[in-house]
């Protein structure tokens, strides 16, 4: 009797400890909350590899439920992909990232499982599922501490791979080829000696006058390239204009100051000015120290250039390149010293300030075309004509889109809807 009682007590103690250590869990195998309860996965198309997309489509009534996605790799290691996603988000991506570059390895088999729940997923429950011993091989309904979790079956093996060609960019390839032909056509036309016209660009005719007047007054010219890098096209365009302007400067035998923000831009500007002075037959006038570095600090640069303007009092100031908030600080200071100012940038947010503070402003594409305008070489003019033909293409495309939408949505005609959708899809890259 005593033995039995002791044994019973031992059992009781054991069972209590069992309860306190393990939370209550009820498992109903193969039960699902609705027909077709599953998640699917696929390799993310058109990427460089290391990415799998997991998707699900549950009834709308479950939109406010949470979904947690787990993963098992072919070696049997479990991991969490994402916890407590809103069911309405419909998809999640399992990708390698900067922090974890080998999270998804190309060529490895991965199996995914989803956990659907009304409440956020319980951490202990999750740990139990991903623990090596238990795994989560079984799908069904788990009732854990009175909360219900629906666990999907594992997906088939999903393998991530890198693509050799981004299919979604086919429209770009086609346009690139067509546009190359347009450019080649015009470049050939230019080569064959056909004269190409370029319209007047306000401000560029004033370059000669600006340089001339500065020379008369015995003042230098200042050329500000803004705060871009050599990898920025506006900065490159600014450098090509610098080449034409410094040629004029050499012809007038005056001085050009180029305060720079980026050291590579400074070095390139030195090359540009040197080449222009040599072409103008005055390499002796070139002084490397006139193209100087200021600092790679936006407002430090603005302060330095402002100070230089106040002291050197240039007769003409060119602001050509990439400008941000410092644009108006520079342009207003230039205005206050009475310099002729010719500005140009592609930053639409800064253009209004240039328009207000400068004598002439080259807007966007005008600035890109300026170097061609200043040195009307046939080949260069050919490229401008090609740009114009592309503009016509774009206008036609926009008008076609608009007309299609009138028939599609104004008159509700099905075929036009399809055509409109086709056009819209081709434009999405």
């Amino acid at each position: 009797m005593l033995k039995r009682t002791l044994l019973l007590i031992v059992f009781l103690i054991l069972s209590i400890s069992l309860f306190s250590e393990n939370d209550s869990l009820i498992f109903l195998e193969n039960q699902t909350p609705f027909e077709g309860f599953a998640i699917t996965g696929k390799d993310i198309p058109n990427d460089g590899g290391g990415g799998i997309e997991i998707e699900w489509s549950f009834p709308d009534s479950l939109d406010n439920f949470f979904l947690t996605v787990l993963r098992k790799d072919e070696a049997g290691n479990n991991s969490i992909v994402a916890t407590d996603l809103l069911v309405s988000s419909k998809q999640v991506r399992d990708v390698s990232s900067e922090e974890d570059p080998s999270r998804v390895k190309d060529g490895t088999k991965y199996y995914y499982t989803g956990i659907l729940s009304k409440k956020m997923v319980d951490e202990d429950f999750l740990n139990m599922l991903i623990s090596k011993e238990n795994g989560y091989s079984k799908n069904g309904i788990y009732i854990f501490n009175n909360d219900t979790f629906y666990v999907t079956a594992e997906t088939d093996a999903i393998i991530s791979k890198a693509s050799w060609f981004n299919l979604s960019r086919i429209p770009v390839v086609i346009s690139l080829i067509l546009i190359s032909f347009v450019f080649l056509y015009y470049l050939n036309l230019a080569k064959s000696g056909k004269e190409l016209y370029i319209r007047k660009i306000n401000g560029l005719d004033a370059v000669e006058e600006a340089v001339g007047r500065s020379t008369e007054m015995g003042k230098p010219i200042m050329y500000i390239l803004g705060i871009g890098y050599v990898t920025d096209i506006p900065t490159i365009a600014g450098l090509t204009i610098l080449s034409r302007v410094s040629k004029k400067v050499a012809e007038y035998e005056t001085k050009i100051l180029v305060p720079s923000y980026d050291p590579v831009v400074m070095t390139t500007a030195q090359e540009v000015v040197k080449e222009a002075f040599t072409e103008a037959g005055r390499p002796d006038l070139y002084n490397k120290n006139d193209i100087m570095y200021i600092t790679q600090d936006q407002f430090g640069y603005a302060a330095g250039v402002d100070g230089m303007m106040m002291r050197e009092k240039p007769g003409a100031v060119f602001l050509q390149g990439l400008f941000f908030a410092e644009s108006l600080i520079l342009a207003e200071t230039g205005h206050s010293i009475g310099a002729i100012q010719i500005s140009g940038t592609t930053e639409t947010a800064q253009l209004p300030f240039f328009v207000a503070a400068c004598d002439y402003t080259l807007i966007g594409e005008e600035m890109m075309a300026a170097s061609v305008y200043l040195q009307k070489e046939p080949m260069m003019l050919g490229s401008i004509a090609a740009e114009d033909l592309l503009k016509v293409f774009i206008m036609v495309l926009i008008i076609v889109g608009f007309v299609l939408s009138i028939f599609a949505y104004g008159f509700n005609i099905g075929i036009f809807k399809n055509l409109f959708d086709l056009l819209a899809r081709a434009l999405q890259v």
């Binding site: 429209p171 770009v172 690139l176 190409l196 016209y197 370029i198 319209r199 050599v230 990898t231 920025d232 096209i233 490159i236 590579v264 070095t267 390139t268 090359e271 600092t295 790679q296 600090d297 407002f299 430090g300 302060a303 330095g304 402002d306 100070g307 106040m310 002291r311 639409t348 947010a349 253009l351 209004p352 300030f353 328009v355 207000a356 807007i363 966007g364 594409e365 005008e366 075309a369 401008i384 004509a385 740009e387 114009d388 503009k391 774009i394 206008m395 926009i398 008008i399 889109g401 608009f402 939408s405 009138i406 949505y409 104004g410 409109f420 056009l423 819209a424 434009l427 999405q428 890259v429």
Partner: protein, 201 residues
């Protein structure tokens, strides 16, 4: 609140006033602040470069990851130093040619992407007065940028409409920015009156 006793706050406040003195005219105080900012910021820039470039992008990949690809930009960077020597200074063209090539090359597809996105965004997804205005505005602005046609007659009139759109856009951007700029000034005044002088809380 009382006037600040913190040495650093005083420095910041005096430098702030020195910059503002430029609004009156160029003067020694502004010059001091200007030269100091240029000097310090380039010193700071060097340190940032040392940390972010030399250590993070060259030393670590080379020593720890054995990533020898880094030797290419390292060599290109060193070629820039050929400018210190007159008889080999032409070698610095190689890194320049490289970066210009990279910049222009990258811009070609990204320009295309941008073109596609802009044209797509102009597709009217609903028919109303606004989308008609947008189509007219986009097309007339594009006509303004036509270079190979003289802006006379019909083209001239359309490009005139384009310029009108451009001016409205510039005015809008101008008006949109004014208040943001004023608030920057208010921020500095707040610093002077509260952090430094302790007049307001």
């Amino acid at each position: 609140m009382a006037i600040a006793t913190n040495f650093w706050i005083w420095i910041a406040a005096l430098l702030t006033l020195a910059i503002y003195s430029f609004l009156y005219k160029d003067n020694p105080f502004y010059k001091f602040a200007e030269y100091l900012l240029v000097g310090i910021s380039i010193g700071y820039g060097i340190s940032v470069y040392w940390h972010n470039t030399i250590i993070t992008k060259v030393y670590n990949p080379l020593v720890y990851d054995k990533n020898f690809l880094v030797l290419i930009p390292l060599l290109l960077g060193l070629l820039m130093f050929s400018r210190f020597f007159k008889n080999v200074s032409y070698l610095s063209r190689i890194p320049i040619a490289f970066v210009v090539g990279a910049g222009t090359g990258l811009s070609v597809p990204s320009s295309f992407e941008f073109l596609f996105k802009q044209v797509y965004a102009t597709m009217p997804l609903k028919l109303d007065f606004g989308s008609l205005i947008i189509v007219v505005g986009v097309i007339s602005t594009l006509v303004y940028f036509f270079f190979s046609l003289e802006h006379k007659g019909f083209v001239g009139r359309v490009s005139r409409v384009g310029i009108t759109f451009i001016m409205v856009a510039f005015g809008a951007a101008f008006g949109y920015t004014i208040m943001a700029r004023v608030s920057l000034f208010i921020g500095r005044i707040q610093f002077l009156l509260s952090d430094w002088l302790g007049i307001i809380k």
